[in-house]
Structures are given as structure tokens and as C-alpha cells.
Symmetry: C2
Subunit: 198 residues, 2 copies
């Protein structure tokens, strides 16, 4: 099935933005990749910024939603919950489109305040909230040692993010990430050994 011109523009633009950044991605380059003139592009979008904002809105659309009930259910089992969380995180990390969007996010993160706010909300706050609720339950169940659930969540999340960041960097240069392919699982094992009740 073929894409509409508008969809083609978004596809090519997101690739270019994620490789070059906003400023270095010219309307010319986008139009050229799509196979139309710059002027034709303005029939679909008001200007360059509107193209970027349309894409930026999609970045956070893929974020995983888990309903409260399911979390409370799964958290009681302890380690399997963490394993499932890490697996989801890993899937997103290696998903081609998510990877592109993550790159685009990071590349503009330091020059775009709106993206920063959204990033902290969606990639940090949301995950910390979800995880600390789960760790709180695990503490109540006597599965893990008592501690500040927020701290434990922060510690758990930080490694996953670092691995994703590391993998993202390596993949830009098409370098091997095989030594990191099981790092998230190793993280869960290591982490669980550190917090579980002996």
C-alpha cells in the first residue's frame, strides 16, 4: 500500500531530523527525498516547524500504558514483574521506529524546552511512578528489603535508560550491540539479587 504525499513527507522528515537535527534539516532536503519541489510541500504544511511539531507529537505516542490493576497483580510476584518491564523496555529499544523517534528526541532535547518537559514526564516521572508503586507492593509482600520505593525505582530505571542510550549511540555508527543484547536481562538478575529478602 502506498503512502500519501503528506505521509511521505512525515516519513522522510523524521528520518532527516533524527539524523541531522532540526536546524540542519532543510525543507529542500525533505522535498527532494519525497520527490517534489519545496513549494509543493507548503500545500501540506504551513512551514518547517509544523512538520517538526507533527512528528514530535508522535514521539511519545508509543509509550507503554499498563493499567493499575495489572501492575498490582503482577508486582506481587516480584521478579517476573521486573523482567516483564525490562522486556518491554528492550522491545522499544530495538524497535526501528521507536529507535528513530528516540534519536530525534535526544538530538533536540537540549535545544527544545517543550521536548525536555515531555521527556522528563514520559520517560522519567511516569516510569518512576509505576515502578515505585510496584516496589512498594513488593515490600509489603515481604519479597524485597524495605527502602524508599522511589529510590529503588530510580536505581532500577537508570540502568535501563543507560543501556538504551548506549545502544542508540552504537547503532548510529552501525556498530555491534550484541554484547548489550542481554544486558537488560542481566540487569534484572543483578538488581533482584541486590534487593530480595535473603
Amino acid at each position: 500500500m502506498s503512502l500519501s504525499t503528506k505521509e511521505k513527507i512525515l516519513k522522510e522528515a523524521s528520518t532527516l531530523f533524527s539524523q541531522l537535527g532540526y536546524k540542519a534539516t532543510s525543507v529542500r532536503k525533505i522535498a527532494s527525498k519525497v520527490g517534489i519541489r519545496e513549494s509543493a510541500l507548503y500545500n501540506h504544511f504551513k512551514n518547517k516547524e509544523e512538520i517538526f511539531l507533527t512528528i514530535a507529537d508522535e514521539i511519545f505516542a508509543t509509550s507503554v500504558e499498563l493499567d493499575r490493576e495489572k501492575i498490582q497483580e503482577e508486582a506481587k510476584r516480584g521478579k517476573p514483574f521486573l523482567a516483564r518491564f525490562a522486556t518491554t523496555y528492550k522491545l522499544v529499544t530495538f524497535d526501528k521506529n521507536s529507535e528513530k523517534m528516540f534519536r530525534l528526541l535526544l538530538i533536540e532535547l537540549f535545544t527544545n524546552e517543550a521536548l525536555r518537559k515531555k521527556f522528563i514526564q514520559e520517560f522519567h516521572d511516569k516510569n518512576i511512578k509505576l515502578l515505585s508503586e510496584a516496589f512498594f507492593i513488593m515490600m509489603q509482600e515481604g519479597l524485597i528489603r524495605s527502602n524508599d520505593p522511589m529510590l529503588v525505582a530510580y536505581e532500577f530505571l537508570s540502568s535501563l535508560f543507560y543501556i538504551r542510550f548506549h545502544i542508540t549511540l552504537l547503532r548510529i555508527d552501525s556498530e555491534s550491540t550484541s554484547h548489550l543484547s542481554t544486558q537488560m536481562e542481566k540487569h534484572v538478575d543483578f538488581f533482584w539479587e541486590g534487593i530480595k529478602v535473603q
Copy 2:
């Protein structure tokens, strides 16, 4: 004491690069901040890229060097070594110039291959090497549970990096980082509890 024109250029340029990125920082803006014309700037640097490369070379100059002997000595004591490492990491995180350089690094990381290579070398590989040697010694001394030293190092480093990354983001928007001011110390405490021999 006053700076030479060349030093002023580097100072203003590094600030602009760290705020806007390479592409969006124009020679005009740099010259304007310094208080000279663009053309006068070319008496000090061949072109814009030479300015950037001069600054980029300084980014990694601040990286902490610890000699082998000292590490082996300190690692035997276990937790104090980790505390010292974290304190150093924290000092760099909150140092004004290091912060600027870190921002400049991150802002260009995804569009500059040379910076990526250097980043992985200096911020990851070097630290992992140092830390895994220390963890290996701690295992030999029977202070911590046996495990892959590289994995333990990766886990320890990842949280520190995440905290630094988080703080850097917040500080761009002049937001409070007080809730993160002791996060590195908390990380050491939490981590040590997880790995120490009971």
C-alpha cells in the same frame, strides 16, 4: 585579569554552542558577543569549525585520572572507594565549566561521530575499566559477592550517569535539583547494600 580576544572568542563560542548547537551558532553571534566584527574573528581562527574543534578538545581534558596504585589501595576498603568515585563524579556534575562542556557534548553527540567515539571512550570505557578493576579486588578481598566485575561496574556507573543527565536537563531550565543533590550518595549506599557480603 582580562582575557585575550582569542580566549574571549572561545568563552563566548562555547556558551553559544552549548545552548544552540553547532549549526544554530553563527559566526555573527559569536563575534557580536565578543564585541568585534565577524571578519576580525578570522584573524584568530581559520573558520567556524576550527573554533568548535578547539573547544571540543577541551571537553575531555577535565576527565579524572587516578593512578593504578591508588585504585588498588583504595579498592581494598570497599565502600569508601565507591563513595570517593561518586563524590568526584558529583563534583564534576556540579562544576560550572564541566556542566557547560557536558551540555555541548550531549548537544552534538548524535550528529558528530568523532564526539561519539570520544564519549564512549572517556565517559564509558575508561570508567568501566577502572571500576571493574576495583570490583574485582573487592571480590578477591571477600567484601562483595562474586559476579562479573564488568557487569557490576556497568550497573554502578549507569545510575551515576543517569543522575548527571537528569540534573543537566533540569538545570537548562533553571529548575531545582535539590532533590537530586544527595542522589549519588544514596546510590552508593543502596548499591553497596546490594552487593556486600552479608
